[in-house]
């Protein structure tokens, strides 16, 4: 961009500025050193626009995954507005309550309130661990953080409101399930088959990202390599049979667990490489399945300029991994598809003076808009107060996104930071940090091996504590938490006036109801068919060359419980015991 002569001249001017104008300023403000930095072409010396940025929707995608703004994934209900789901088929907000009946009734309520999208299922912890609701470890957990799904019968109930013009061929369904993901995707397949809907018509996204469970969220079941066998089977089955369904959604839960931005992104990329390798090693062409791998939000801090840079860098890194490391020929495979329009995380929400979280989330939505996404002010401000957000907080989150989009007109320019000396310099810097993590993990034999050894988990714990120490000392300021907490501050309370969509009386009896229903199911179903399906699954799991997916579908159709299916998997694959990492 700039030739050597002009750069030399600029360097001289910069030195002069530092000695005169800047020095005067510091003297006047009584500072030893500046608290700011100013960027010039000196910071991006050899910058090549086409190589580093390019046009939106073109390699290397720094300026945007798509040439123009995609329809949003944020606000999904209420009237009109160009922020509504538009031309794309999307899933709705993450939700799941109590029993299948409770969740069905929640969706019925939401449809009345204007939802035009499919469900985005939150599962309770026993379901996430493939335990039946009456397992000793399920005690107290049934229906708490999501819906309890004990068998295919529960899927039939949950999806009752999704018929006719909301049938499975018209909606997208997300399933936030990882460890036993295949069993739950298989239930969805069984439901489509029962309704006479071709698998090629199904849309949606199972989370199905097992590697992040070990480092971010703790809901793993089997050792990493055994888990990858299940992932491989889902990759192959979905790629061959469900071209409109995503296979998995690479997630950033490591952020919530304490990983830094570059570390988390490095883990995500390394996890992605591991999944791509699983598909290729199973005999698929990279371009047969890579475009069905998506990303969850990559944000997670209030340091938003850095978050914008990470986002721009991520698109470039993923494209290069696909093109250069996997030899992908199809640009469709190179896209980092990530719909979450916010760049702050759940971990940035504070319980103290919680309305401030609306400000934080709005800043995150602003930052997302700067990366070419439809902004969403997520999560709602009452996120850290208890499980279950109020309808009021969700209304405000949607309104904030609408204000960002319509009133502040933030989405009219693609990659507004393109070419900024500062942003391009920072994007290069964070890209290098992410590659360092990717290369280190690959050097250890890949993400599964680096997880198996406990290394990745230990590094997240270390980052979490390093960050926390800065909060303890006040080096990192969190308003209303570690600073600005004195007697002179006003407590600002919030109230909930709109009734929770989930009746607390139903919540109180959900576990009891779910267990009673499960006992009835075990008595009434064809137990010979269940036994045969479990035996078939056992055999399929023991034979590496087989794809287990048809066996999971058979288990669903026979109404085998998730605990029974889980027991077979645990027996054959073994259970992962975490290392003492701290």
């Amino acid at each position: 961009m700039w030739d050597k002569d002009r750069l030399d001249k600029l360097a001289g001017k910069k030195q002069e500025w530092e000695k005169t104008t800047l020095a005067d300023s510091l003297k006047r403000f009584k500072k030893d050193k500046p608290s700011t930095r100013f960027y010039t072409p000196l910071d991006i010396k050899e910058f090549d626009f086409l190589d580093k940025v390019g046009f939106p929707g073109q390699y290397p995608y720094t300026a945007g995954t798509y040439a123009d703004l995609p329809p949003g994934s944020g606000p999904v209900r209420g009237g009109g507005g160009s922020l509504a789901v538009g031309g794309l088929v999307r899933a709705g907000q993450y939700a799941g309550y109590g029993t299948a009946e409770d969740t069905r009734d929640f969706y019925k309520q939401m449809i009345v309130r204007g939802w035009r999208v499919g469900p985005n299922l939150a599962f309770d912890l026993p379901s996430q661990f493939a335990f039946d609701s009456d397992h000793p470890l399920a005690r107290g957990e049934v229906g708490k953080v999501g819906v309890a799904v004990s068998s295919f019968a529960d899927y039939e109930t949950i999806f009752e409101p999704f018929q006719g013009d909301r049938n499975l061929d018209r909606i997208a369904t997300n399933m936030t399930i990882n460890g036993p993901a295949n069993a739950f995707i298989a239930m969805y397949v069984a439901l489509a088959q029962k309704r006479g809907i071709g698998l090629d018509k199904l849309r949606g996204t199972p989370q199905n990202d097992i590697l992040k469970e070990y480092t971010g969220r703790g809901a793993y079941l089997f050792p990493p390599k055994q888990s990858l066998r299940l992932t491989r089977d889902s990759i192959v089955f979905i790629a061959k049979n469900m071209p409109n369904m995503n296979i998995l959604n690479i997630s950033s839960h490591m952020r919530g667990a304490g990983a830094t931005a570059a570390q988390c992104t490095g883990y995500m990329m390394a996890n992605g490489i591991e999944y791509l390798r699983a598909g290729v090693n199973a005999g698929l062409d990279i371009d047969e399945f890579a475009s069905q791998i998506t990303f969850n939000g990559m944000g997670g801090s209030m340091d938003v300029l850095r978050e914008i840079a990470i986002h721009r860098a991520s698109r470039r890194i993923w494209a290069r991994i696909l093109r250069e490391r996997f030899g992908s020929k199809s640009p469709k495979s190179w896209l980092l598809r990530c719909t979450q329009g916010c760049l702050v995380g759940h971990e940035d929400m504070q319980a103290q003076r919680p309305l401030n979280n609306l400000v934080r989330a709005t800043i995150g939505g602003f930052a997302a808009a700067m990366t070419g996404q439809v902004p969403s002010a997520w999560p709602p401000y009452d996120e850290p107060l208890r499980l279950g957000r109020s309808l009021e907080s969700q209304q405000l989150a949607e309104d904030a996104a609408r204000i960002l989009y319509h009133e502040s007109k933030l989405c009219q320019v693609r990659d507004p930071f393109a070419g900024s000396y500062f942003m391009e310099s920072l994007t290069d810097e964070v890209e290098a940090e992410v590659w360092e993590w990717v290369d280190r993990i690959e050097g250890m034999g890949g993400a599964a091996a680096a997880t198996e050894s406990g290394y990745l988990q230990r590094e997240v714990a270390r980052s979490a504590y390093e960050h926390h120490k800065k909060i303890e000392t006040g080096e990192e300021v969190v308003v209303g938490v570690n600073t600005f907490t004195g007697d002179q501050e006003l407590e600002v309370l919030t109230t909930r006036l709109v009734a929770d969509p989930y009746d607390p009386e139903r919540r109180a009896i959900a576990e009891e109801n779910q267990i009673a229903k499960l006992k009835r199911l075990r008595a009434e179903r064809d137990n010979a068919a269940v036994k045969a399906s479990l035996k078939n699954l056992d055999q399929a799991l023991r034979d590496e060359s087989q794809n287990t997916f048809p066996a999971f579908i058979q288990c669903a159709q026979a109404y085998a419980t998730i605990g029974e299916v889980g027991d077979v998997m645990r027996e054959v694959l073994g259970e992962y015991k975490e290392y003492a990492i701290i």
């Binding site: 912890l125 026993p126 996430q128 661990f129 000793p136 470890l137 399920a138 005690r139 107290g140 957990e141 708490k144 953080v145 469970e213 969220r217 703790g218 809901a219 793993y220 919530g256 667990a257 304490g258 971990e347 504070q350 319980a351 103290q352 850290p384 107060l385 208890r386 499980l387 714990a461 979490a464 504590y465 926390h468 120490k469 909060i471 303890e472 969190v478 938490v481 570690n482 975490e578 003492a580 701290i582």
Partner: protein, 139 residues
């Protein structure tokens, strides 16, 4: 106060919740305050936690839970400790726990509940001020 040994703490994750950041940070933070801290890892039953507390002869049991199962596990740990004849161990808890639920936990014998945003130095100070067996341990 006699200085027999440092304060011993067991940090435990009861139930299926896998969000361990709080437990990690409190474990490492209390160590930096001079305490000996044992972290159980994930997916502990109340029975296993009490057994570990007795075996390790701890002064404090810290329970961490983000999945709203604290209402089952925290009182259960208190109850099992009492049934085992242990009445001089401080039981504290943390997680996303609304104040009204924290009040119920305290009624059921949990000594203190620390919510999101708590600084470890405040937990350390609380422990030092409220040890139930002060003759035995000191920070």
């Amino acid at each position: 106060m006699t200085q027999d040994r440092p304060i011993r703490v067991l940090i435990a994750k009861p139930g299926l919740d896998g969000h361990s950041r709080g437990a990690w940070v409190v474990t490492m933070g209390l160590r930096d305050h001079g305490m000996e801290v044992i972290y159980t890892g994930l997916r502990q039953t109340a029975e296993a936690i009490v057994q570990a507390a007795v075996q390790e002869d701890v002064d404090v049991v810290g329970l961490s839970c983000m999945s709203a199962t604290y209402d089952y596990y925290f009182p259960k740990v208190v109850q099992l400790l009492r049934e085992t004849g242990v009445d001089d161990v401080l039981v504290i808890g943390g997680g996303v726990i609304p104040p009204e639920d924290a009040a119920v936990l305290k009624e059921k014998g949990v000594d203190a509940v620390f919510g999101p945003g708590t600084l470890v130095k405040d937990i350390a100070a609380y422990i030092q001020a409220n040890l139930k067996r002060p003759g035995k341990a000191v920070a």
